[in-house]
Structure formats: structure tokens, C-alpha cells
């Protein structure tokens, strides 16, 4: 057993390892013993942990031969024991041979490795020697290269220097050529010369300490000075167009001429040019006549549009161009330019204004508007430069527009006066018998339509000022103030006002101071006209105006339509009142004269109505016709026509005796009046010169009242005889007969005639009234 143990202990053969009996028995030779070997030398910890102490595993690291033996002995029967022993022996042997193979193989390898190392040792030693050689060679090379380069360096430097010198020389040559070139170009192409000089100048300045350079510089300077001089002379004497001028000045600036001086020169040159243009414009204007307007200025040679056109294209264009170049040349500092430009612009404005003044006549407004428009448009460019000019220009345009509107107002007024004159003439013209002249309504219609037409035409003209395509129409002035102040107030309202005033003037003015009074028919006509204005025309005109010239909300206060209407109505009222007064006075005068000149004491018994009464009735009938042409009938107090006759007979037969009665009774004189006083208490007070209404009846009532009251007062101043009284009676009856139908209230006529009769009776020495039937007879016969 010991052998076994020793065998297994001192490198026992492979037969001894029981595990080989398992799986590895059938596998190939070299891998199988590898595993156990590997396991032996370096068992992995995992394996060790896993293979917990199994002392019986012969291949395990914790193999305990004792325990194994014990276990085998105790467990296995003999046969198995023998078999195991044989297997173990086999295994040990196998293991031994493996070990021997391995050993052999490894030894061979070691030997070859040792050989290789030995060989390497020898090689390295050789190589070291070669390396040393190499180093030595390299050192030699570098030394020789340094030698070569040292030899070449000097040459290189020299060649570089030569190249520099050549460049310099070339430059110098250019410099030297500068004066010549300058001279050559200065004649023909000053701009090029200038460019050349600019390039050369810096260098020349830099090397000016060198005499030769200085000579060049001086020369070129001289040339340039010469050039500058020439430019200057050119600037001074020649008339340059603005572009040339600008170029010229630009060059001079580049020549470092003093900017101040130049700008002055520039401005003076430009000024001269602009002056010339202004002078051309001015030449077109007739010379201002200091002696006043003794001679009417000849009509301007060209129309205003042409004038403005030329003015703006020539003057404004040039001015703009010059101002632009000034800015470009002398920077944004416009301190000098502004007064210059504004002075010129002011002169231009003045010229334009003078030209505008020549547009006295109404001419063609569209032309004017276009001219102003063009002016304004052209000026806009300039205005950016001259903010102050903007106001002036706007003011100029506005003034022109305003002027034109004023002129239209005057023209309208003249037109209206002309129309009135025509109407007067038509009224005054003697009418051939049988042929009626134009009726009042025709005249009125003609007057009204022509005036309205004219007004409309004027509005249309004025509207041109605010047309959309006109540039200045967008100015705030034209949007707001012009519409309201100038057109609505200044033109329309002023015209209506003036019309009312003029109409009133006919009523107020001439009557008392002996001036030729307006014919009554004219008064009537104007009254109607004013009334029509009040009723419709003013409203129409204002609406039209507001449509054409929309007023702005925040604009100045406008005269409201109703105020104008009230004015027109007042004028109409005044005229109609005046008409009544004039006509009344005419009739009254007739009556007064007839009463005053008659000898009432010595008259004979009345046989006829006095002629003057017939005349009165005729006149009043004529007035009735006249008024009827223009005014409505009006209301009269309702009374049928025959009632008046009855009323009159009542008056004559019953009342008259009643009133005369007290005269006969021998009572105190006061009693005479008592009755009439009592009567008056019950009748209304009659205002004689009271305002009338706008209708025919009212007008005629007014006239009749005035006439009859006059008759009354005149009779009271006379002393009558018996027949005088009777004549008054007849006249009164006659008047009553024919006048009642004209009056609105026949009781007024009746009352006044009653009073006339009563007064006549009172003033009569021998009051014996005529038989009423006789009175009627006479009247009917007359």
C-alpha cells in the first residue's frame, strides 16, 4: 500500500486519478491532462468554494488519501477494490508519461529561447557601432550645411535690397512725372489732375524735407494753385449751370481751399444765377408804378400758369439743386444757406404775389388753382430745406385763395347790383300801351335764378381750391379754415348778409335824405326776394355749401342758418313795412294836399265824388294788383261781400245820425265827444304804422289805414261849410264802397271813415248831412 501512497505522493501516475475514468476517458490526448493540471496550479476560488471539502475527490485540492482509503476500504467490495487499484495504477502511469512529455517540450522551447537571446546580444552590439557611425556622419553634414548657408547669406540680402530700391525708384519716377501729368491734365481734365494730385500729395508732403521732393511738391502745388486759380476765375466769371458749379466747387474743396470762403463764393455765384432768374421773372411783371395806378397796367404777357410754371421750373428747381449740392459740399451745417435761401424765397414769393395781384379779374380760376398747385408742389421740395418758407408759402397760397374768394364776393355783389339795375330799368321803362311789360313775378324769378345761378357758379369755381387732386388742398388751412371761414362765412354768409343789408338799405337809407328813392315796386320785389331767401333759398345755399365744403367739427363757429333766415326775414319785414309806408305816404300826400288846398267853406253842393278820391281808389287798385303778383292773398276777416254794404248802410243811416245828434243838442261841448268816446272804448285801438304781414290783404290794409288816418287828421285841421261836410260825406262813402274789399277787416275802414265823418261834422259850421240816398246816387254815378 505504501507504494501506492508513494506513487501517488511523489508524482504518481495517472492511473491513480479516479476521475479520469469519467468523461475524459474517450477524449484526445493533450487537453485532458491540462485541466487537472491547471486546476492544481491555480484553482479558481469559485471552484474551491464550490467544491467544498470533498476529501474523497481524488482530483480535488482537498484530497485526503486517508479518508479516501478509509472510504474505499469500507465501502467497496474486494472486486471493486481491485478494479480501482488497477484503474488507479493506470492513471498514474498515464500521468507520468504526460508529465514527461510536457517537460520535454518545455525544455526545448527554453533552449531555443536562450539561443535567440544569445543571438540578439551579439546583434545589438553590432548595431551600436553603426549608430555611432551615423551620428558622426550627421554631424559632418550639418557642419557643411552651415558652412554653405553662411556663404550664401550676404548675397541674398543684397538682392532683396536691390528689389526695394527698384520699387522706390519706380515710385520716384511716378512722383517726378506728377507735375508733367498734372500740367497735361490740368488743361483738359481737371478732375483727373486732381485725383492724381491727391494721391501724390501725401507722399510729397512726407518727404518734403528732401529738396528734390520739395521741388516736385512745389511744382505740383504751383500747378494745382494755378488750377485752383483757374477754377476760381471760372467760378467767378462764368455763368455755370448748377452742376458745373457744384463740380467746380467740389474740386476747389478738394484743393483744400478754405470752405468758408468757398461756401460764400458758392452762394454768391448761386445767388447771382438765381437773381438772374428772378430778374427774368420780374421782367414779365409790369414795373411797379410808384405814382399810383394812374395808368392801368397792361395785361401781363403770359398767363399765370405759365408764369408759375417757369418760375418754379427755373427758380425753384435751381434753388433746390443748389441747396442740395451745398449740403453735399459743406455738410449739414446750413447756417449760411438758410438765410440765403429764405431771402431768395421771400423775393420769389413777393414776385409771385405781385403777379397774383395782377390777376385782378376773375379770369380762369382753374388756371389759377393749377398755377398755385404747381407752385405748392414745386415748393414742397424746397420746404424741407426751409421750414420757415413752408408757412410763408402756405400763407401765400391761402392769401391768394382768400383774395380770390373776396373778389368773387365783390363780383357777386356787383352782379346783384347789376341785376337790380336791370330790374329797376325794367320797372321804370315806359310801357307801350297795350303791351304789358314783364310782370313782377317774371322779374323776381329772373333775379332770383340769375343770382342763385351766379352763386352756384362761384361756389363751383371756389371748389377748385379744395379739389382732391390739388396738392395744397390737403393743407389744414384748406381743409378747415378755408371751407368755413373763407367760403362759408366769407363768401356765402357774407353775400346773404350783404344782400339783406342792401335790401334794407333801400328801406332805411334814401327815404329821408332826399336821395332818389327806390321805386315802390322794387321794394316789393326785394321784400319778396328776402322772404324767399328766408323760406328756402338760404337753407338751400347753406346745404349746398356744406356739401361742397364739408365743415370740420372743431372748426371755428359758423353762423347758423336760422340766424341768417331771421336776418332775411327782418329785412323782408322792413322792406314791406317801408313799401307800405311809401305807398301809404304817397296816397296820404295826395289826400292831404287835396284837403289842404280846397276851400271847404265856400264850396258848392257836391255833385260828384272828388277826382282825387277816384285817383286814390285807382292807385290802391294798382297797388293791389302789384302786391297780388308777388304775395298771397292772406286771410281777411270772414264777412261776406254783401254784408259790407249792409254794414255801410247801417253806418250811414242809423249810426251816423246817432253820432251827429249831439251836435244839435245845445248841451256843453264836451258832450259831443262823450258818445264817440264811449264808442271808442268798445273798438280796438288802431295802430296806423304797424308792421304788416306777408300777404296782400295785410299790405293793403296798412296802406288804407295810413291814407284814411291822414284824411282824418287833415279834415280836423280845416273848418268846413255845409257843403264841405257833404262833400266829405260823399267822398267817405265812395271810399267805403271801393276800399273795403282790399282790407283784411272792413271794420277798420269803416271805423276810420266814421271818425272822418264825425270829425268833419265837428269841424263844420253848419252841419247838415246829405240825404243818404243822394250820397249813394252820387257815388254810383261817379
Amino acid at each position: 500500500m505504501a507504494a501506492v501512497t508513494a506513487g501517488s505522493g511523489a508524482g504518481s501516475g495517472p492511473a491513480g486519478s479516479p476521475e479520469a475514468t469519467g468523461g475524459s476517458a474517450g477524449s484526445g490526448g493533450w487537453r485532458r491532462p491540462h485541466g487537472p493540471l491547471q486546476r492544481y496550479y491555480g484553482p479558481s476560488t469559485a471552484e474551491a468554494a464550490e467544491a467544498a471539502p470533498d476529501p474523497t475527490d481524488i482530483n480535488g485540492p482537498h484530497f485526503d488519501p486517508e479518508a479516501f482509503m478509509t472510504k474505499v476500504r469500507s465501502e467497496c467490495p474486494l472486486g471493486q477494490l481491485l478494479a480501482r487499484e488497477a484503474a488507479l495504477g493506470r492513471e498514474i502511469r498515464a500521468l507520468d508519461s504526460d508529465m514527461q512529455t510536457l517537460l520535454y517540450e518545455n525544455y526545448n522551447k527554453f533552449i531555443s529561447a536562450t539561443d535567440t537571446i544569445r543571438k540578439m546580444k551579439v546583434d545589438f552590439r553590432h548595431m551600436e557601432a553603426e549608430m555611432d557611425d551615423l551620428a558622426a556622419n550627421m554631424a559632418a553634414i550639418s557642419a557643411s550645411s552651415a558652412r554653405v548657408s553662411a556663404a550664401l547669406q550676404d548675397r541674398h540680402r543684397r538682392s532683396a535690397q536691390l528689389a526695394g530700391v527698384q520699387a522706390l525708384l519706380r515710385k520716384l519716377q511716378a512722383l517726378v512725372e506728377v507735375p508733367g501729368r498734372l500740367r497735361c491734365w490740368a488743361e483738359t481734365e481737371p478732375a483727373r489732375a486732381l485725383r492724381c494730385h491727391t494721391r501724390a500729395r501725401a507722399i510729397l508732403r512726407h518727404y518734403r524735407h528732401l529738396p528734390s521732393f520739395r521741388a516736385i511738391e512745389d511744382e505740383s502745388h504751383a500747378i494745382m494753385a494755378d488750377l485752383a486759380q483757374r477754377l476760381r476765375t471760372r467760378l467767378r466769371c462764368e455763368t455755370l449751370d448748377p452742376k458745373e458749379l457744384t463740380e467746380c466747387v467740389e474740386m476747389l474743396l478738394q484743393l483744400e481751399e478754405p470752405a468758408e470762403e468757398l461756401s460764400e463764393e458758392f452762394l454768391s455765384q448761386a445767388g447771382a444765377r438765381l437773381e438772374a432768374e428772378l430778374a427774368t421773372l420780374e421782367a414779365e411783371l409790369p414795373a411797379a408804378d410808384p405814382s399810383g395806378t394812374a395808368t392801368t397796367p397792361p395785361p401781363p404777357a403770359s398767363d399765370i400758369l405759365d408764369f408759375v410754371d417757369r418760375g418754379s421750373s427755373a427758380f425753384v428747381g435751381t434753388l433746390c439743386q443748389l441747396a442740395g449740392s451745398y449740403r453735399a459740399l459743406f455738410g449739414e451745417d446750413t447756417g449760411r444757406l438758410e438765410p440765403f435761401a429764405s431771402a431768395l424765397a421771400t423775393r420769389y414769393f413777393a414776385l409771385l404775389e405781385r403777379r397774383l395781384e395782377l390777376e385782378r379779374g376773375l379770369g380762369d380760376t382753374s388756371l389759377l388753382v393749377r398755377a398755385l398747385d404747381r407752385f405748392h408742389r414745386r415748393l414742397r421740395a424746397l420746404l424741407e430745406l426751409l421750414p420757415a418758407g413752408a408757412d410763408a408759402a402756405a400763407a401765400l397760397v391761402a392769401r391768394a385763395a382768400r383774395e380770390r374768394v373776396d373778389r368773387y364776393l365783390r363780383a357777386l355783389q356787383t352782379f346783384f347790383l347789376g341785376c337790380l339795375g336791370d330790374v329797376r330799368q325794367a320797372l321804370a321803362a315806359p310801357r307801350p300801351p297795350g303791351k304789358e311789360g314783364p310782370g313782377l313775378p317774371d322779374l323776381l324769378a329772373k333775379l332770383a335764378t340769375s343770382v342763385l345761378g351766379q352763386l352756384k357758379a362761384v361756389l363751383a369755381y371756389v371748389q377748385l381750391f379744395t379739389a382732391r387732386d390739388v396738392a395744397f388742398a390737403s393743407l389744414p388751412y384748406f381743409k378747415g379754415e378755408f371751407c368755413v371761414t373763407a367760403v362759408r362765412e366769407g363768401l356765402v354768409v357774407a353775400f346773404v348778409r350783404w344782400l339783406c343789408r342792401t335790401a334794407r338799405g333801400f328801406a332805411d337809407g334814401p327815404a329821408e335824405r332826399g336821395a332818389p328813392a327806390a321805386p315802390p315796386a322794387l321794394l316789393l320785389l326785394l321784400a319778396r326776394l328776402c322772404l324767399d331767401y328766408e323760406n328756402s333759398t338760404i337753407g338751400y345755399i347753406l346745404t349746398l355749401t356744406d356739401e361742397q365744403f364739408p365743415p370740420q367739427d372743431s372748426g371755428p363757429a359758423v353762423t347758423p342758418g336760422p340766424a341768417l333766415c331771421a336776418e332775411a326775414r327782418a329785412a323782408a319785414q322792413r322792406l314791406l313795412d317801408h313799401y307800405v309806408q311809401v305807398q301809404g305816404a304817397a296816397v296820404a300826400q295826395m289826400l292831404r294836399k287835396s284837403v289842404e288846398t280846397r276851400d271847404w267853406l265856400g264850396t258848392v253842393e257836391p255833385r260828384n265824388v272828388r277826382a282825387v278820391m277816384k285817383r286814390v281808389v285807382e292807385d290802391i287798385t294798382a297797388i293791389d294788383v302789384q302786391v297780388g303778383q308777388l304775395f298771397e292773398e292772406g286771410v281777411r276777416r270772414a264777412q261776406s261781400s254783401d254784408s259790407s254794404r249792409r254794414a255801410f248802410s247801417v253806418y250811414s243811416s242809423s249810426r251816423a245820425p246817432g253820432r251827429y245828434a249831439p251836435s244839435y243838442t245845445p248841451s256843453a261841448p264836451m258832450d259831443t265827444h262823450l258818445l264817440s268816446n264811449i264808442q271808442k272804448l268798445f273798438s280796438e285801438r288802431i295802430d296806423i304804422f304797424s308792421p304788416v304781414e306777408f300777404n296782400k290783404v295785410s299790405v293793403l290794409t296798412g296802406i288804407i289805414k295810413i291814407s284814411l288816418k291822414t284824411l282824418l287828421e287833415c279834415v280836423r285841421l280845416r273848418t268846413l261849410g255845409r257843403f264841405g261836410l257833404q262833400q266829405v260825406q260823399v267822398d267817405g262813402h265812395y271810399l267805403q264802397l271801393y276800399l273795403w274789399r282790399f282790407a283784411s277787416d272792413e271794420r277798420v275802414v269803416q271805423g276810420l271813415l266814421d271818425e272822418v265823418a264825425a270829425s268833419a261834422a265837428h269841424r263844420c259850421l253848419d252841419p247838415v248831412p246829405m240825404e243818404h240816398s243822394v250820397v249813394e246816387l252820387i257815388c254810383e254815378r261817379g
Binding site: 329821408e512 267853406l601 261841448p669 285801438r685 304804422f689 288816418k709 287828421e713 273848418t719
Partner: protein, 373 residues
């Protein structure tokens, strides 16, 4: 009745003379006394038998002397004459008899002298020299101005000078006034639509306002305190105020009446008060502050002693005094032909209408104090 005058020489009692117009009865002159304190009217009647009275005026010097223009009517002719009369002594200074007595035993005027007008035509009015001694009168007869000297205590009238207005047509003076200014050497007359001024020394025309009114000029009056100012009224219903140095334009025009204005009178002491009577039966009292002699709107001198506040208030009140109509009196039923201020009481006036009604009115009390204070 058309004739009305204050008793000019009387300065204590309020007395008016009214002449009647009647063709068929004896005409009378009524002496109206107004007792202001008791508001009683006392009437004395004097007979004036020669004819109806168209104009009456009283001597500024002698209470008892008056002049009338009257119509003498014969069968075929009417002639207007003028005469100077003296009323009975006991009526001169007013009597306190009961009205019944006076009406029962009417007394007669004593004729002093006739103003002989046979050569000159109808007398329109008689004017006494204002401020004078009652020796000089001027009468207007048709187109003549006659200046008379009354001699031998008014018993005899001698025509001292005269002037005639020449022109085409029948010119006739309608009225006239004697200016109290310039030593009483000016008069103003009205004929038709023209107002003329005359110098009584040379009897020449010194100014002429052509077409002073649109129609007949009915009456005139001089501003008693402003020497060149003249008021006129006429048939065009207007009252106009003139500066006689500038006759082309009236200074002011009033248009308040609705018919002819027959009479215009300045208040004797407060010349802003203007009284007008018209045949529209109205009497209108106007306040023409702007053309009066009163300083406009204030009287500081009087208030200098009173404290400032009072003065302020005072001025505030005075401020609104404007030219205006103060009052319109409509008591009359017929045309008013005459208005007169009382010579004794500057706040009292009378108006007379065709039907014989005489109305005495006072200036409204408020206005009176306004003017006075």
C-alpha cells in the same frame, strides 16, 4: 282842443292853460290848477269869444298875460289871427274858488292888443322871448316871421322886424320855437319837411335842415341845457335830435309812435326827459341819457363824502340807465295834439287830446329818485 300851455311865469303852482276849439260855441280858456298835495284839479274858465283857439302861449314875465292864435270865421273865409290878452287879476295866481262857482260866472279876457296880420296871412303860432321881460314876441304867419315889440305895458304891438321865406310853391310855417340860448337871439321854425334856424337880430336864416323828416315837421323844441341841441317831430312818426352845427345827420332818431308825432318837449330842468304826443293817442316819455346834458350815468361829486361801498352800489344802479322809453301813456282815446311840462314842477306834465281830455301825469317815482340821487 289843441291849445295847451303851462303858465310860464308861475313857478309855485302847477297851472296849465287850455284853449278850446269849437265852431259853434263861445270858446274858452280853461285855467287848470293842480293841487299836487291833495291831488285835486281846480278849473277856472275864461271866455275867449273871438274864435276857436289854435295856439296859446303865456308871457314868461307876467303871469296874467297870454297870447292866442285863433280862427276868425266868417261865412266864406277863415282867418287865423293872434292877440295878446290879460286875464283878470284874481285868476292870475290861481283861485281857490270852488269849480262850480267858476263855471257859473265865467269871466272874460281883457284884450291888450292885436297882432295885426292882415298883410301876412294866417298866424301859426306866437312865441314869447324866453327869459325876457315879456316885451318881445315872435309870430309865424304863413311864410313870414314877425317880431313884435310890446309897448305901453303890452297895450300896443309894434312890428319891429320881419322876414319872409321865399321859395316856390306855397310855403307855410307850421311851428317854431325860440331858443333860450345865445341871449335869445335864435329861433327855429318848421315848414313842410324843413327845419330852419333864424337870427332874430338880422332876421336871416342861419341854418337849414333840409328834409329833416320824411314828411311834414310838426313841432320843435330846444334843449334847455345844451345850446345846439334841437328836437323835432313829424308825420313820419319819428322824433329826431339834431346838433344844429351839423345839419346833415340827426344825432339820434326815435321811432316809437305809430302815427304822426304832433308835439315834442324837453323837460325844463332834466333834459334827458323827452315828452312826445302823437295822433296814435299815445304820450311817450323817453329817457335820452346819451344826448342829455347830464353827466352820463353817475354823480360822484355828491357821493364823495359817503363811504366807498355806497358809491359802488350807487354806480351799479346808475349804470344801466340807457336811452329808453320810460313810459307810454294810453289814457287818451283820440289824437294827442299837445303835451307840456309844468313850469313849476319838473316832474309833472299835461297832455291834451282832440276830444278835450286833459291828462296830468307824473314822471315815475323810481326814475325821479334815480335822476335826483
Amino acid at each position: 282842443a289843441r291849445a295847451l300851455t303851462p303858465q310860464t311865469a308861475e313857478t309855485d303852482a302847477i297851472r296849465f292853460l287850455v284853449g278850446t276849439q269849437s265852431l259853434r260855441y263861445d270858446n274858452q280858456i280853461h285855467i287848470i290848477d293842480f293841487d299836487d298835495e291833495n291831488n285835486i284839479i281846480n278849473k277856472n274858465v275864461l271866455l275867449h269869444q273871438v274864435g276857436e283857439i289854435w295856439h296859446i302861449s303865456t308871457s314868461p314875465a307876467d303871469k296874467g298875460v297870454l297870447a292866442t292864435c285863433y280862427n276868425k270865421t266868417s261865412d266864406t273865409k277863415v282867418m287865423t289871427c293872434a292877440a295878446v290878452w290879460r286875464m283878470p287879476k284874481e285868476l292870475e295866481s290861481g283861485s281857490h274858488e270852488s269849480p262850480d262857482d267858476s263855471s257859473s260866472n265865467t269871466q272874460t279876457l281883457e284884450l291888450l292888443c292885436h297882432l295885426d296880420n292882415t298883410a301876412h296871412g294866417n298866424m301859426a303860432c306866437v312865441m314869447w322871448e324866453p327869459m325876457g321881460d315879456g316885451k318881445k314876441i315872435i309870430s309865424l304867419a304863413d311864410n313870414n316871421i314877425l317880431l313884435w315889440d310890446l309897448e305901453e305895458s303890452s297895450a300896443k304891438a309894434v312890428l319891429s322886424s320881419s322876414a319872409a321865406l321865399e321859395g316856390k310853391g306855397q310855403l307855410k310855417f307850421t311851428s317854431g320855437r325860440w331858443s333860450p340860448h345865445h341871449n335869445c337871439t335864435q329861433i327855429a321854425t318848421a315848414n313842410d319837411t324843413t327845419v330852419r334856424g333864424w337870427d332874430t337880430r338880422s332876421m336871416r336864416q342861419i341854418y337849414c335842415i333840409e328834409n329833416a323828416h320824411g314828411q311834414l315837421v310838426r313841432d320843435l323844441d330846444f334843449n334847455p341845457n345844451k345850446q345846439y341841441y334841437l328836437a323835432s317831430c313829424g308825420d313820419d312818426c319819428k322824433v329826431k335830435f339834431w346838433d344844429t352845427r351839423n345839419v346833415t345827420e340827426p344825432v339820434k332818431t326815435l321811432e316809437e309812435h305809430s302815427h304822426w308825432v304832433w308835439n315834442v318837449r324837453y323837460n325844463h330842468s332834466h333834459d334827458q326827459l323827452i315828452l312826445t304826443g302823437s295822433s296814435d293817442s299815445r304820450v311817450i316819455l323817453s329817457n335820452m341819457v346819451s344826448i342829455s346834458s347830464e353827466p352820463f350815468g353817475h354823480m360822484v361829486d355828491d357821493d364823495e363824502l359817503s363811504d366807498q361801498e355806497d358809491q359802488h352800489q350807487e354806480e351799479k344802479i346808475k349804470e344801466p340807465l340807457q336811452d329808453s322809453v320810460i313810459a307810454t301813456y294810453e289814457e287818451h282815446e283820440d289824437s294827442v295834439y299837445a303835451v307840456e311840462w309844468s313850469s313849476a314842477d319838473p316832474w309833472l306834465f299835461a297832455s291834451l287830446s282832440y276830444d278835450g281830455r286833459l291828462v296830468i301825469n307824473r314822471v315815475p317815482r323810481a326814475l325821479k329818485y334815480h335822476i335826483l340821487l
